[in-house]
């Protein structure tokens, strides 16, 4: 049994009478990625703040590495890493000096810095002032700062939001590697592709309520009530076939006659599931 790194038990959070999280339950195990997928305002950041001890839940219990989040002090941050949209950098300091500062604080050998800089392709920019970096470079800087001390749990609040696809892909690659190395990663996103590709488990969060929870595949299959196939025929015509006895016969005939270029099954995506459950778009 893999170690439980995060556990949310009946978490609720109220801001001046507004319930922004309602009975949220989730677990994250070592070496896994758990994603909270939801539109803006769903309560993703609030969840991260509760888990990292920056906010107290109104109700319920949250645990990180077995410690109740209401009781954590600053020593917990030696074992967890956090990347949020408000993670700041020292603009007047170079990339390297920014990292050196935190390496010293976290008592990490300075050799780690260059290794990580190379790993995310920032090594050539190590002498640049942080104020001269692009958004994607800053995001990578913040990310490696959060993993300098190889934390057991990494929190990422919309880590690729607003980044170009190439940088997003690089970050995805790094996250997968970190996961393989045993890190537990909690990430929030409103990007369903990101959630599908990266996460072992996903919670679909809408207005503070988890409306679906499971592996991305399971969630999609649960909604796969009506199987559909998208077929491209030799005459370049695209046909959408619903799985019925009649249609299968047609399909069989086409196959035998070699009339088909490609067949795609159309399972629901997390996005379409979200739309079906909540009536809302993700973005």
């Amino acid at each position: 049994m893999k170690k439980e790194c995060i556990s949310l038990q009946h978490i609720s959070k109220e801001f001046n009478g507004n319930l922004v999280l309602k009975d949220v339950n989730a677990v994250l195990h070592q070496g896994e990625i758990l994603g909270f997928l939801g539109p803006s305002g769903a309560g993703k950041t609030t969840t991260i703040k509760i888990l990292t001890g920056q906010l107290k839940p109104t109700d319920g219990q949250a645990y990180v590495l077995g410690i109740n989040c209401q009781d954590i002090d600053e020593t917990i941050y030696e074992q967890i890493g956090i990347v949020t949209d408000v993670s700041g950098v020292y603009e007047r300091m170079s990339v390297y000096d920014n990292l050196k500062y935190f390496a010293k604080i976290l008592n990490v050998p300075l050799d780690n810095i260059d290794i990580l800089l190379k790993r995310v392709g920032l090594y050539e920019h190590k002498k640049k002032l942080a104020s001269q970096l692009s958004k994607g470079q800053i995001q990578r800087l913040i990310l490696i700062r959060a993993i300098l001390h190889t934390p057991k749990v990494l929190f990422l609040d919309e880590p690729t939001s607003g980044l170009d696809p190439t940088t997003a892909l690089e970050i995805h690659k790094l996250l997968k590697e970190l996961k393989t190395e045993g890190m537990a990663i909690f990430l929030t996103t409103h990007n369903m592709e990101e959630a599908t590709k990266l996460c072992d488990h996903v919670a679909l969060l809408n207005e503070g309520v988890i409306v679906e929870y499971g592996t991305p595949q399971d969630i999609c299959l649960r909604y796969n009530k009506e199987k559909k196939y998208k077929i491209l025929k030799n005459d370049k015509k695209e046909v959408l076939l619903i799985h019925t006895e009649e249609n299968i016969k047609v399909l069989n005939q086409w196959l035998m006659d070699d009339e088909i270029i490609s067949i795609h099954s159309c399972e629901p995506t997390l996005e379409s599931v979200f739309l079906e459950v909540t009536g809302r778009e993700l973005q």
Binding site: V86, G88, V89, R92, M93, K104, I105
Partner: protein, 243 residues
């Protein structure tokens, strides 16, 4: 009581110390030194008979204690909030005490150095005992100034607001002692200000009447305790970030 990790404290001191030398902040100590020098140039040529060196020195030191102490510290803390680096430090295992000391130590050191340099620039002469008293009094005043800056920093959201908030207080702290000779009420108020205590001490050395008196030491001690307590109360309530 929070524990202090030396590695964290040293790292903060190093970074905060370097930050003081950025152009936003270093102008304040430079300004204080420059002011002392300009005063000396301006008055030195006018009055050759009266010893004005104490006056030049007072100007420099008061400026240093107020501008470097109150303004720089407030603006520095505000900047960390504005750029979200304070939150990042606090979620990277730094505790409040480490941040507090790491922020204060470099700035107080810089102020102490400037206070001493001002003496030489002004050409003010003191005996060993007077020197010791001078360093002690200006250092405690520097700490009072810096902690006052921290208090303002709690409420300032950014560097701009730090400037706006501290300006009236700076004027009060600096001008009241400077104009204390004009009327009795101002003089009385000045006697109860830590900046007034510095001014009085320098006058005492010049006139060679006495070094200090119990009232002045009491004021200094009380204001030191009060600012620290006020800071602690506000910090307990707000952390470094008041909403």
């Amino acid at each position: 009581m929070k524990t202090i990790h030396i590695n964290k404290l040293l790292a903060i001191i190093e970074v905060k110390g370097k930050a003081l030398f950025s152009k936003n902040f270093i102008i304040m100590p430079i300004f204080s030194l420059g002011m002392t020098y300009i005063m000396k140039l301006a008055y030195g040529s006018i009055s050759k008979e009266i010893d004005m060196t104490g006056y030049y020195l007072s100007m420099g030191v008061l400026m240093n204690v107020c501008m470097t102490g109150v303004y720089c510290v407030a603006a520095c803390l505000a900047e960390e909030k504005e750029k979200n680096t304070l939150r990042t430090l606090m979620t990277s295992s730094v505790n409040g005490l480490e941040f507090f000391l790491g922020s204060l130590i470099p700035v107080v050191l810089l102020m102490v150095i400037v206070n001493v340099l001002c003496v030489f620039i002004a050409g003010f002469s003191m005996t060993i005992t007077e020197w010791l008293c001078y360093v002690a009094i200006t250092t405690i005043s520097s700490i009072i100034g810096a902690v006052t800056g921290m208090i303002f920093g709690i409420f300032a959201k950014n560097q701009m607001s730090a400037g706006t908030m501290t300006t009236p207080v700076l004027i009060l702290f600096m001008l009241i002692p400077m104009f204390s000779h004009l009327n009795e009420i101002i003089e009385t108020i000045s006697n109860y200000l830590f900046t007034g205590v510095i001014m009085n001490f320098i006058n005492h050395v010049t006139t060679k009447v006495t070094l200090t008196n119990p009232l002045e030491l009491g004021v200094l001690f009380l204001e030191f305790i009060l600012t620290v307590i006020l800071f602690l109360v506000l910090y307990k309530k707000n952390g470094f970030e008041a909403n």
